[in-house]
C-alpha cells in the first residue's frame, strides 16, 4: 500500500510499504477513505517530537471502511464505516471506565519509556512517535486499528466523510477545550490560536453558553475565518497589544476563561520570544510558552485556563505566582475523544456544527509532501488539508 512516512525534520515521503495485518485479537483493518494533517503532525514535521524513527507512518485523523476484524472484535463488522479516534483505548482500565479515555493504561506498548519521561503513560496514539507506542498512522491506504471495538464510532451513510472526519481529533479537541472552561452565562472566553482547534473551540464555547468569544492569532485569513464563520471578536497579536485589548474588551475583569489552542510552537515577539527560541534551538527548553504566559496573565481572578495546545517538555518563566494569586484552575491534556462523540455526532446531524468550513485544501495522499509544506508555511492560505488515498 501507499503511506506517508517520516524520514526526518521536514522530510515526509509517500512510500510503498507492506499492507497492515491483524496482530492482536481485538484489531481491525480499516481501508482509509479520508485522512487529514493535524497541527500536531506539524510538531513532528518540525522535529519537536522525540521518539520518532525514520520510516514511521504518520497520521492520526482518519476514517474509512472496516475490511477485516480480529477474532475478539465485538460490535464492529466488515463493511462498517468508521471514524477512528486518535487515542487508542482498551475500554477495561480505570481510566477508560471513568471516561478519561486518553489516559488509558493499557494501549501503549512502550509505556515504560513514557513512564520514565513523564512519570506515567497515557493511551497509545496513532502515528505519534514510539513514546506513544509506535503505532502506524492513518495517512495510508490501510491501517491497523487495535481495540477496534472500543473507541471507533460507526457512522451512517447520510453524513459525508468530510462532515464526520474531524470527530477523530480536532472537533472533540476544540469541544473539550471549551467544556474544560466550565462556562457560565455571561462568560467571556479568550482563545489563542485560530487553527482548526481554535476555530472549533470558539464554536463550542458559544454552544456551551459563552456570551462573547475573543480570538487571537497573527494570521489575518484565520482571524477572518474566526470572525465570519465562528463568530468571534478578533485580535491580531502581531499588530495589537493583546493584554491591553483584552483588558478593554472585558472592562478590566479579564476573560473568564482562556484557551491555549497554540501549544509549544507559539509565535512571539520581543525579547522573551528570542529567549525561548534560542533555548529551544539549544534544546534547553523544549517548548515555547509565550501563549501560556500571556493567558495566565490575562485570565480573570478565579478563572480557568484550558490548554488543548500540546506541550512536550520543559518551559521557563511561567508566572505561576500570578496563577496562584488569582486562584486559577488549569486544565489540559490529550482529548478524551470517545466521551464527546455521541453529542458531537448529534450536533453535526442537527446542523449545530458544520466542521467542513475549515477545509482549505483537498488533495490526494500522493501529494502529502507538498501538503505538509504548505500547511506548515502558509497558514494564511491553508487552514486544513484533507487527503484521499486512491
Amino acid at each position: 500500500m501507499r503511506a506517508v512516512c517520516w524520514y526526518g525534520k521536514g522530510d515526509v515521503r509517500v512510500e510503498t510499504v507492506p499492507d497492515p495485518s491483524i496482530l492482536n485479537p481485538r484489531d481491525a483493518i480499516v481501508r482509509v477513505t479520508l485522512t487529514a494533517i493535524c497541527g500536531s503532525d506539524l510538531h513532528i514535521y518540525n522535529g519537536h517530537i522525540p521518539g520518532m524513527e525514520r520510516g514511521d507512518i504518520l497520521g492520526h485523523e482518519f476514517m474509512g471502511e472496516v475490511v477485516e476484524v480480529g477474532a475478539q472484535v465485538r460490535n464492529l463488522k466488515r463493511g462498517d464505516r468508521v471514524v477512528v479516534p486518535f487515542t487508542i483505548c482498551c475500554g477495561k482500565c480505570y481510566f477508560c471506565q471513568s471516561q478519561q479515555w486518553s489516559l488509558c493504561d493499557n494501549t501503549n506498548p512502550n509505556a515504560p519509556a513514557l513512564h520514565k519521561l513523564y512519570g506515567a503513560s497515557g493511551a497509545g496514539l496513532f502515528g505519534y512517535s514510539h513514546l506513544y507506542g509506535g503505532y502506524a498512522g492513518g495517512q495510508s491506504q490501510f491501517v491497523r486499528v487495535p481495540f477496534a471495538g472500543v473507541a471507533p464510532i460507526v457512522v451512517d451513510n447520510d453524513l459525508t466523510d468530510e462532515q464526520v472526519l474531524f470527530l477523530s481529533d480536532i472537533l472533540p479537541t476544540g469541544f473539550m477545550a471549551a467544556d474544560n472552561c466550565n462556562i457560565h452565562a455571561g462568560d467571556v472566553v479568550a482563545v489563542w490560536g485560530c487553527g482548526p482547534v481554535g476555530q472549533f473551540a470558539i464554536r463550542s464555547a458559544y454552544l456551551l453558553g459563552a456570551e462573547k468569544v475573543i480570538a487571537i492569532d497573527d494570521v489575518p485569513e484565520r482571524l477572518r475565518l474566526a470572525r465570519e464563520r465562528s463568530g468571534a471578536i478578533t485580535i491580531n497579536c502581531a499588530t495589537t497589544d493583546v493584554m491591553a485589548e483584552l483588558n478593554d474588551l472585558t472592562a478590566g475583569r479579564g476573560p473568564d476563561s482562556c484557551i491555549d489552542a497554540v501549544g509549544m510552537e507559539a509565535h512571539g515577539y520581543g525579547l522573551a520570544y528570542a529567549y525561548d527560541r534560542t533555548k529551544q534551538a539549544l534544546m534547553m527548553e523544549t517548548d515555547r510558552p509565550g501563549v501560556l504566559r500571556q493567558a495566565i496573565a490575562a485570565c480573570r481572578k478565579g478563572g480557568t485556563l484550558s490548554i488543548p495546545g500540546v506541550y512536550g517538555g520543559f518551559i521557563d518563566n511561567v508566572p505561576i505566582g500570578s496563577a496562584f494569586a488569582k486562584g486559577l484552575t488549569l486544565r489540559m491534556g490529550q482529548t478524551h475523544v470517545p466521551r464527546y462523540l455521541p453529542t458531537l455526532m448529534r450536533r453535526i446531524r442537527e446542523h449545530e456544527i458544520d466542521p467542513t468550513f475549515i477545509i482549505s485544501h483537498r488533495t490526494r495522499l500522493e501529494d502529502a509532501p507538498e501538503a505538509y509544506k504548505v500547511f506548515n508555511q502558509d497558514k494564511g492560505a491553508c487552514t486544513k488539508v484533507v487527503m484521499k488515498p486512491s
Binding site: A3, R13, V17, R54, C90, G124
Partner: protein, 208 residues
C-alpha cells in the same frame, strides 16, 4: 538486553525477600550481603478481582505469557518449580525455586534453590485497592549477582534500574489481565528498508 531480560524474569518470577522472611544467608550457607545485594520494589494496580490476579500469578506456567524473555516454567509439585529464561548470547539460563510461604489471595514468597545460576528471593503481596479499583500487587525482590558471563550481564543490568524492568513486566501483566491481550506494534507496517537503530533504547540510555 537479553541478559537483562533473563534476570528480570528470574526476579519477578520467583524471588522472595530474604529480609522479609528474616533470612540473612543464601541456601548455600554463604552470608547474603543484603546491603550489597540488589534489591528492588515495584507495585501495580490491576483492575480485576484479587482472586483472579492471585490465581494467574500463582500458576507459574502462565508467567511466560506476560514476562519478556522467560521461556518456560514447570511446576514439579511440593512448591518447587524449574525456570528457563533467555540468557546472554542465545544460551538459556535456568534455575529451580521453591515457595517458602503462601497465603491464598495474599502472599507468595519464594527463593531459588542451591546450585541455581541465579540467586534470588522475592515476594508478591496482594491487597484490594480502595474504592473497588481492583487489586494492588507489590513485588519485593532481592538478588545476589552471580559470577561469570551471566553475572556480568546481570550486574550491568541491575546497576541500571531493576525497578523499571519490573514495572515493564507489571505493565504487560496488567494489560493481559485487564484486556486479554498485550498491546504491541511489533511486525506492523513501516517505510524502513533496512532495520534502523531503535530510538527508545537510545533515549532511555540518554535519560539514565
Amino acid at each position: 538486553m537479553a541478559g537483562a531480560g533473563l534476570i528480570r524474569r528470574g526476579l519477578t518470577g520467583k524471588c522472595e525477600i530474604y529480609t522479609l522472611l528474616g533470612m540473612r544467608s543464601l541456601p548455600s550457607g554463604k552470608p547474603v550481603p543484603y546491603e550489597l545485594g540488589v534489591r528492588a520494589r515495584a507495585a501495580v494496580t490491576i483492575n480485576q478481582p484479587r482472586e483472579k490476579v492471585f490465581a494467574f500469578l500463582r500458576q507459574f506456567e502462565n508467567l511466560p505469557r506476560v514476562m519478556r524473555h522467560l521461556k518456560s516454567v514447570e511446576e514439579n509439585g511440593e512448591g518447587r518449580s524449574h525456570w528457563v529464561a533467555e540468557g546472554p548470547m542465545g544460551k538459556s539460563v535456568c534455575w529451580d525455586a521453591e515457595i517458602l510461604n503462601e497465603e491464598r489471595d495474599r502472599l507468595i514468597a519464594w527463593k531459588s534453590l542451591p546450585g541455581s545460576q541465579v540467586d534470588q528471593a522475592g515476594s508478591l503481596r496482594f491487597h484490594d485497592a480502595p474504592g473497588g479499583r481492583g487489586t494492588e500487587v507489590r513485588a519485593e525482590l532481592q538478588y545476589n549477582p552471580p559470577a561469570g558471563v551471566v553475572g556480568a550481564y546481570v550486574a550491568r543490568f541491575f546497576d541500571r534500574e531493576p525497578e523499571q524492568e519490573i514495572v515493564a513486566d507489571f505493565q504487560r501483566l496488567k494489560q493481559y489481565l485487564e484486556t486479554g491481550e498485550i498491546a504491541s506494534t511489533e511486525d506492523q507496517s513501516h517505510g524502513r528498508t533496512e532495520p534502523e537503530k531503535k530510538v527508545l533504547p537510545a533515549m532511555e540510555e540518554a535519560m539514565a
